[in-house]
C-alpha cells in the first residue's frame, strides 16, 4: 500500500464454525475419563485394568460419531456443549465401574437380590442409546422452530408422562417409574424436555398479555386474575405430583422451570416473588400432612439421629464421605463411599466424587455443569427467535435446577429428593433424556450462531436527488 494510513479496522470475524476446537476439546474429554479409569484400576488392583482399551475406544467412538454428526448437521453449533457432556458421561461411567468393583456392594447385592451384575456395561449401552437419540435429534429436527408446532401436543404428552407413574407400583417410596415389559422408564426425565417445549410455545404467544396487563400494587406488578390461571394450573399440578407420586424433585423441577421461564418471558420480578411464595405455601402445606415428605425433612435435619439411623443411614454416610474427602480427596478408587449402599451409583454418585476427588474435584465438577448451563443461556441470548430463546433458557434452567436439587440433597443443603445427577448417575432414562436435551441445545445454538444472511441492498442507494442548477 502506497498510502500509509493508520487505520483501525473493526470487522466481524468470519463466522468461525469452531468445529476443530470442539474436536480438540472432545479428544481431551475422552482422555480424562481414560486417565480416571487407569487410576481406579491401579488403585484397586495394582494393575492396568483389562477393559482400558475397550472402554477408551468405546467412549471415543461414541464421541467421534457425535462429533461427525454435529460437523455435518449443525456446523455452527456451540463448541463446548458436546465435550462437556461427553466428559461428564465418561466420568460417570468410570465411577459406576469403580463402584461395581466394590466388594461391599457386590456382597450387598448378593444377599439382597441373590446375584450381582455390573452396571457399567449397561450404562455404556444407555450412553450409546443416548448418543443415538442425540444424533436422531440433530438429523430429524432441522430447525428448532418445528417444535413450536407441537406446543399443545407436548402439553398433553407431558401431562400423560407425569401422571402415568401413579398407576405403577412405587419403587423405594417414590412413584416415578413406569415399567414396560423388561424395561423401567422414568418418564419425568423426558417430561422435563417436552414440558419446556410447551412452556416456550405458550409463553411466546402469551408473554405480552402476562407482562403488560398488570396493576401496580406495593411496588410490584400484579398480573390480572385470568393471567394467573396457567401458573396456578402448573402449581396445582406440581403439588399433585408431590402428593400422589411423593416425588419432591420432579415437582420442584416443574414449578421452578415454569417460574424461570415466566420471568424470562415477561421480565417481571413479581413472578419470582409469586413463585417463591407459592412454592413455600405448597411445600409447607404438603409437608404437614404427607408422611413421606415429612420423613425426608426429618432425615435432612437429623441425618445422624439414632432412632431413624436405619433409614437415614444413606444421607449420613453421604455426608461422612464428603467430609472424609477433604480438600484434595482420597484418590480415585480409594474412598469408602460404597458404605452408602443403596443407590450409591445413581442418586448418591456425587458423594463418591466428593470423597475421592475432594472439594477441588467437586468444584471442577460443578463448574462443568455451570459451563453447560452458561452455554445454554448464551445460546438463548444469541438466538434470534423468541421461541428458541425461551426453549434454550428452559432446557438449561431445567438442567440447572436438577443439578441443584440433587447436589443440594446429597450434600444436605435441602431435603433429599429422588433425582439423578445428569449424565453422571447410573440410569438409562436420565442419560438418554439428557443427551436429547443437549441435542436440542446444540440445534438451537447452531441456528443462533449461523451467520446472518447478507442484508438486502440498501433501498436508498438509487434515490440521490440531483441538484439542478
Amino acid at each position: 500500500m502506497s498510502v500509509v494510513t493508520n487505520t483501525t479496522t473493526i470487522g466481524a470475524i468470519e463466522a468461525p464454525s469452531r468445529r476443530n476446537t470442539e474436536l480438540a476439546l472432545l479428544a481431551f474429554a475422552v482422555v480424562i475419563p481414560v486417565f480416571a479409569y487407569l487410576n481406579v484400576g491401579l488403585a484397586l488392583n495394582g494393575e492396568v485394568p483389562a477393559g482400558l482399551l475397550g472402554y477408551g475406544l468405546g467412549l471415543g467412538l461414541l464421541a467421534g460419531v457425535a462429533h461427525l454428526v454435529v460437523r455435518k448437521f449443525a456446523m455452527y453449533a456451540d463448541p463446548l456443549l458436546l465435550p462437556l457432556a461427553t466428559l461428564l458421561n465418561g466420568l460417570g461411567l468410570v465411577m459406576i465401574w469403580r463402584l461395581d468393583q466394590s466388594p461391599r456392594l457386590i456382597q450387598r447385592a448378593k444377599t439382597l437380590f441373590g446375584g450381582f451384575s455390573p452396571d457399567a456395561p449397561k450404562q455404556l449401552l444407555y450412553s450409546a442409546i443416548g448418543i443415538a437419540l442425540f444424533v436422531g435429534v440433530l438429523i430429524l429436527i432441522k430447525d428448532h422452530r418445528i417444535l413450536q408446532r407441537y406446543t399443545y401436543i407436548s402439553m398433553a404428552v407431558s401431562l400423560v408422562l407425569l401422571i402415568m407413574p401413579v398407576f405403577f407400583p412405587a419403587v423405594n417410596g417414590a412413584k416415578i417409574w413406569i415399567s414396560l415389559g423388561p424395561f423401567t422408564i422414568q418418564p419425568g426425565e423426558f417430561a422435563k424436555i417436552i414440558i419446556a417445549i410447551f412452556f416456550s410455545g405458550y409463553l411466546m404467544v402469551k408473554r405480552d398479555a402476562l407482562a403488560l396487563a398488570s396493576r401496580r400494587f406495593m411496588g410490584l406488578y400484579l398480573p390480572r386474575g385470568r393471567d394467573l390461571g396457567p401458573i396456578l394450573v402448573v402449581w396445582v399440578m406440581s403439588i399433585l405430583i408431590l402428593v400422589f407420586e411423593t416425588d419432591l424433585g420432579t415437582s420442584l423441577l416443574f414449578f421452578g422451570l415454569f417460574v424461570i421461564m415466566l420471568y424470562v418471558a415477561t421480565e417481571r420480578t413479581s413472578w419470582i416473588v409469586f413463585g417463591l411464595l407459592m412454592s413455600a405455601v405448597g411445600a409447607v402445606g404438603v409437608a404437614t400432612f404427607e408422611p413421606h415428605v415429612q420423613q425426608r425433612v426429618e432425615f435432612w435435619l437429623n441425618p445422624f439421629a439414632e432412632k431413624t439411623w436405619e433409614q437415614s443411614e444413606q444421607i449420613g454416610q453421604a455426608l461422612m464421605s464428603f467430609g472424609s474427602g477433604g480438600t484434595l480427596g482420597t484418590g480415585l478408587g480409594q474412598g469408602d463411599s460404597d458404605l452408602i449402599g443403596f443407590a450409591a451409583n445413581s442418586d448418591f454418585i456425587l458423594s463418591t466424587f466428593g470423597e475421592e476427588l475432594g472439594l477441588a474435584g467437586m468444584m471442577a465438577f460443578l463448574m462443568i455443569y455451570g459451563l453447560i448451563v452458561e452455554r445454554g443461556v448464551r445460546t438463548a441470548l444469541a438466538a434470534r427467535d423468541p421461541f428458541g430463546k425461551l426453549l434454550a433458557i428452559g432446557l438449561s434452567g431445567a438442567l440447572a435446577i436438577q443439578v441443584f436439587v440433587v447436589a443440594g440433597g446429597v450434600m444436605g443443603l435441602i431435603p433429599l429428593t429422588g433425582m439423578t445427577m445428569p449424565f453422571v448417575a447410573y440410569g438409562g432414562s436420565s442419560v438418554i433424556a439428557n443427551w436429547a436435551l443437549v441435542g436440542i441445545l446444540i440445534r438451537i445454538s447452531d441456528t443462533a450462531r449461523r451467520p446472518a444472511p447478507a442484508p438486502a441492498p440498501s433501498p436508498d442507494a438509487e434515490m440521490t436527488q440531483v441538484v439542478r442548477p
Partner: protein, 171 residues
C-alpha cells in the same frame, strides 16, 4: 501400587480436570469477542509507538518525529458538522478514515437527499495532513466553493459541503 504413584496420580487427575475447565473457559473467552481489532498502520508507526511510550520525557520536537507527525501542533483534532440535519455532531480525529454518505456503514451517516450513499472520505496522509476525497458522488463535494476532482488537503476551518451538509475540521 506405591503410595507415591497414587498420590501423584490423584493430584495429576485434579490438575487435568481443572485444566479442562480452564481450556473450556478460554474457548468461551475467545468466543465472547465477536470482533477483531487490527492495526493496519505503517511499519514506521508500529515501530514508533513503543518508542513513544518509552520517551515520554523526550522534548516535544523529537516526539513529533517519532509519531510520524500525527500529532503536529496545529493539527485538527475533531470534525464538526456545522450545517445540515446533523449540525453539532463531532467526530474525534484519531487517524482513522472517516467515510461520509447515506450508506448505513458510513462513519457519518448523512440523512440528506442530495448526498450519495458513498459520498466522500476523509483520511490522514503520510504526514498526518487530512485529505478529503470525493468518491464519485452524484452532486459532488465542495471545499470552500470549488468542486473537488482530486484528493485535496483540508485547511483548518475550511467548510466542506456535501449536499445540504457542511462539515469542517477544528482543533
Amino acid at each position: 501400587m506405591s503410595e507415591l504413584t497414587l498420590t501423584v496420580m490423584r493430584l495429576g487427575f485434579l490438575a487435568v480436570l481443572w485444566l479442562f475447565v480452564i481450556v473450556a473457559v478460554q474457548v468461551i473467552r475467545s468466543d465472547l469477542f465477536g470482533t477483531r481489532v487490527t492495526q493496519r498502520g505503517s511499519r514506521r508507526n508500529a515501530d514508533a509507538r513503543p518508542q513513544q511510550t518509552r520517551q515520554t520525557t523526550a522534548p516535544p520536537q523529537q516526539r513529533q518525529q517519532a509519531s510520524g507527525g500525527r500529532q503536529r501542533r496545529g493539527a485538527p483534532t475533531k470534525l464538526v458538522v456545522s450545517e445540515g440535519t446533523l449540525t453539532g455532531t463531532t467526530v474525534a480525529l484519531q487517524g482513522q478514515t472517516i467515510t461520509l454518505g447515506r450508506a448505513h456503514d458510513s462513519t457519518i451517516v448523512l440523512d440528506d437527499d442530495y448526498a450519495s450513499s458513498r459520498h466522500a472520505r476523509i483520511y490522514p496522509d503520510r504526514d498526518g495532513q487530512w485529505i478529503v476525497e470525493d468518491l464519485g458522488s452524484t452532486n459532488g463535494t465542495y471545499l470552500d466553493r470549488t468542486r473537488l476532482t482530486t484528493p485535496t488537503p483540508i485547511p483548518l476551518g475550511a467548510p466542506i459541503r456535501i449536499g445540504k451538509t457542511v462539515i469542517e475540521l477544528r482543533k
